[in-house]
């Protein structure tokens, strides 16, 4: 087991290394976004794009050899020297340090809601297959995963903010952090975040639980005289957590991160998504890089946690094999 955990740990580190290298390769092998932007601008202004490109390249010291660039890039990435953000006139690291809290206050509640509500409904649906409630839940889940999150956010804004005036329309970072008022600013963002995630988790939970609803051991459990609740929780849900955990991280990361990005931009919440958006708009490459890599690192760590959870949840785990 220690061997298994060790291997996953090594893979996580290796993956981190590879990802950072990959970003370097992509940046190095591509036209500098700033240069292509300059060329694009020049073309639209009617001036010579090549000239503009050369000018920008010069400013960025593109003279060094690729290896030198690579080494210094890797060194600075791993020593957390991520450069200066031109957008915020601050170290990239401190921009991130200020921003992550604002992401956390929407992402964490949404994740909890997604897991609790999504799994809850999914389990209920699976144990009440072919009932009206099951059909309704499945249909609602289809809507939940299909609704474009940015459009949903706008519609909620329109209905609850503009028409009904129940919630504030855009985020105000002056509001005291620990206050009910702050919560009122977060209700819509969290709703948007949670909708797609709840729907997706519900579908997974239902599908996995269904596998076990008709398992012989649930029949055995019933034959032992256990109550329906005990059968559902101990013999349907508990074994379903094993496959569920293996999709949980990838799924939640995919949905919640992507939605958080859009939601932060729409509501103006100064979290990582918003910062990343500003960086992209302002061609702030160091900050773009940081905001791209941080979600990747979070994902790698989350995957590691998932592997550890797996060792606890599934007694059958084969420590020699590849990740399940």
């Amino acid at each position: 087991m220690a061997w298994f955990v060790g291997r996953r740990l090594v893979w996580a580190l290796f993956a981190t290394f590879l990802v950072v290298t990959l970003t370097f390769a992509l940046l190095a092998a591509s036209p500098n976004p700033e240069t292509s932007q300059a060329a694009w601008q020049a073309a639209q202004d009617g001036s010579d794009p090549e000239e503009a490109r050369a000018l920008v390249d010069q400013q960025h010291g593109a003279g060094d050899s690729l290896t030198t660039q690579y080494v210094s890039y890797m060194v600075s990435m791993f020593s957390l020297d991520w450069g200066q953000s031109t957008t915020y006139n601050e170290d990239v690291t401190s921009v991130i340090a200020n921003a992550w809290v604002y992401s956390a206050i929407t992402v964490i509640p949404a994740t909890i809601i997604a897991v609790v509500v999504g799994f809850g409904i999914g389990l209920y649906s699976a144990t009440h297959q072919y009932t009206t409630a099951d059909y309704a839940a499945t249909l609602v889940a289809f809507f939940g995963v299909s609704i474009p999150n940015f459009w949903f956010a706008i519609v909620l804004m329109l209905v609850f903010g503009e028409l009904l005036g129940l919630t504030p329309i855009s985020y105000d970072s002056e509001v005291p952090f620990w206050s009910l008022e702050h919560l009122s600013y977060l209700v819509l963002p969290i709703t948007v975040l949670a909708t797609a995630a709840v729907a997706s988790e519900m579908r997974y939970a239902r599908a996995e639980a269904l596998e076990y609803v008709s398992a012989t051991w649930t029949k055995t459990a019933r034959a032992k005289g256990l109550s329906e609740t005990a059968v559902t929780i101990r013999h349907v849900f508990r074994p379903a957590t094993v496959p569920l955990v293996t999709i949980l991280v990838a799924d939640l990361v995919g949905i919640i991160f992507a939605t958080a990005y859009v939601v932060e931009v729409i509501f103006g919440i100064p979290g990582l998504g918003y910062v990343s958006y500003q960086a992209l708009v302002r061609m702030d490459t160091p900050l773009v890089l940081a905001t791209t890599l941080i979600p990747v690192f979070v994902t790698i760590v989350a995957n590691l946690c998932q592997d550890l959870a797996y060792t606890v949840l599934d007694p059958r785990i084969d420590y020699e094999g590849r990740s399940p």
Partner: protein, 397 residues
């Protein structure tokens, strides 16, 4: 159970114990060979024709197109100007995608009417799936033909916002207009083309990549499998949206590049799925038989493994299209898309500023986007139920 037996029954003709007339068999075989050859010729001619047309267009245009790489992604009937050329690279690629679709989906369905009818009966059990298919066919046709009929949305600066019919608008602009006086209807139609193009092209490339990687990993195994699957693991540690935005940042967001980016960032999950499916198939007898008969690995993969994972591929593709469409819309919504293309995402973003005064600008295109994605998801679900016998377990009893 019923699924598999019925399928084999459909495939197997003729009772077994009839005397065999070898001459008939031989002539039938010759006829079959001739058909296959003819078909390959027609296919090749179509692809070559498309290629030639593209090359001609490319050369003809190159002389007066200084920014060919940047100036892509424009609809057929664009307005005049340096950046509007017809047809764009994306249009050509769309043509190629449709050709691939016809050759590898419609032709086989046409040639096996019994199988087609069988699958259709199974799909038709899911009414939502059937309605979705009709709806999507409608969106597809509107996207294909609509822009030619209605033309590009033209600004009418003096007009400004006008509401849709029923909310005080006129039939000149049945769905209202934007601040610049462009008709929402025209924009929605133009956006339908963009979404269909992006969805179908990127998905075709993505699924193609996934099939190649997945079947190769499963079939070759060993080191190759490890390497490919580790690569997929790595690819999938990138949260897709962030990866897409990063690549858009580097390579720019014109539609052609965006399509390639979307294709490249979304194939990982499908590759895993196809690999595991192909692994199960690999153990089956006909693969061994094909190998024993002297088929090389590529031959066996192409002729025996790929067709047998095609159900997984079809379902996967159907469920990938809405994801790709949504990603394109998000990129356009955030303003990193192609400014010369009327994407649904872009118009939804445009409408945000005047949400309270002109709700129709954001909501109508958004609703169409929502319904399109929903229809693809319903259809994908229906296809999975119809094509994947393992899902049958939960239905029968």
């Amino acid at each position: 159970m019923t699924a598999s037996t019925d399928t084999t029954a459909d495939r197997e003709r003729a009772p077994t114990l009839e005397p065999i007339d070898w001459e008939v068999v031989a002539s039938e075989r010759d006829a079959h060979r001739a058909r296959v050859t003819a078909r390959s010729l027609v296919t090749a001619a179509c692809f070559l024709g498309l290629l030639a047309a593209w090359a001609f267009d490319h050369v003809a245009r190159a002389s007066h197109e200084p920014f060919l790489t940047l100036a892509t992604g424009v609809a057929f009937l664009g307005e005049d100007g340096v950046l509007t050329a017809s047809p764009s690279h994306v249009d050509w690629l769309f043509g190629l995608t449709l050709l691939v679709g016809v050759r590898y989906a419609l032709v086989p369905l046409w040639e096996n009417p019994r199988l087609t009818r069988y699958y259709w009966r199974r799909i038709a059990r899911n009414r939502l799936g059937v309605y979705s298919l009709y709806f999507l066919a409608g969106v597809f046709l509107v996207g294909l033909i609509g822009p030619l009929v209605l033309g590009d949305p033209e600004p009418q600066w003096d007009l400004g916002h006008t509401p849709p019919v029923g909310f005080g608008g006129t039939f000149a602009h049945p769905l209202g207009t934007t601040r610049n006086g462009e008709g929402i209807l025209e924009i929605v139609v133009a956006g339908a083309r963009v979404s269909m193009q992006v969805g179908l092209i990127a998905t075709t490339i993505s699924i193609g990549l996934a099939t190649v990687v997945g079947t190769t990993a499963a079939f070759v195994g060993g080191r190759v499998d490890d390497l490919l699957m580790r690569g997929v693991d790595l690819l999938m540690t990138f949260p897709t949206l962030f990866f897409i935005l990063f690549l858009v940042y580097i390579y720019g967001g014109n539609l052609f590049v965006l399509v390639l980016i979307l294709a490249f960032t979304t194939w990982g999950g499908q590759a895993r799925l196809i690999r595991s499916e192909a692994l199960q198939r690999r153990e089956e007898a006909y693969i061994d038989a094909a190998r024993a008969a002297g088929g090389g690995p590529w031959y066996v993969i192409r002729r025996h493994v790929v067709p047998n994972v095609s159900n997984t591929v079809v379902t996967g593709a159907t469920l990938l299209i809405p994801i790709v469409i949504l990603f394109e819309a998000v990129v356009a919504f955030l303003g990193f898309g192609d400014p010369s293309v009327w994407s649904w995402g872009r118009i939804i973003a445009d409408g945000r500023e005047s949400l309270a005064s002109a709700w129709w600008v954001s909501t109508i295109p958004g609703l169409v986007l929502f319904l399109t994605v929903l229809a693809f998801n319903f259809l994908g679900d229906a296809l999975r139920d119809a094509l994947d016998p393992r899902h049958e377990v939960n239905r029968g009893r």
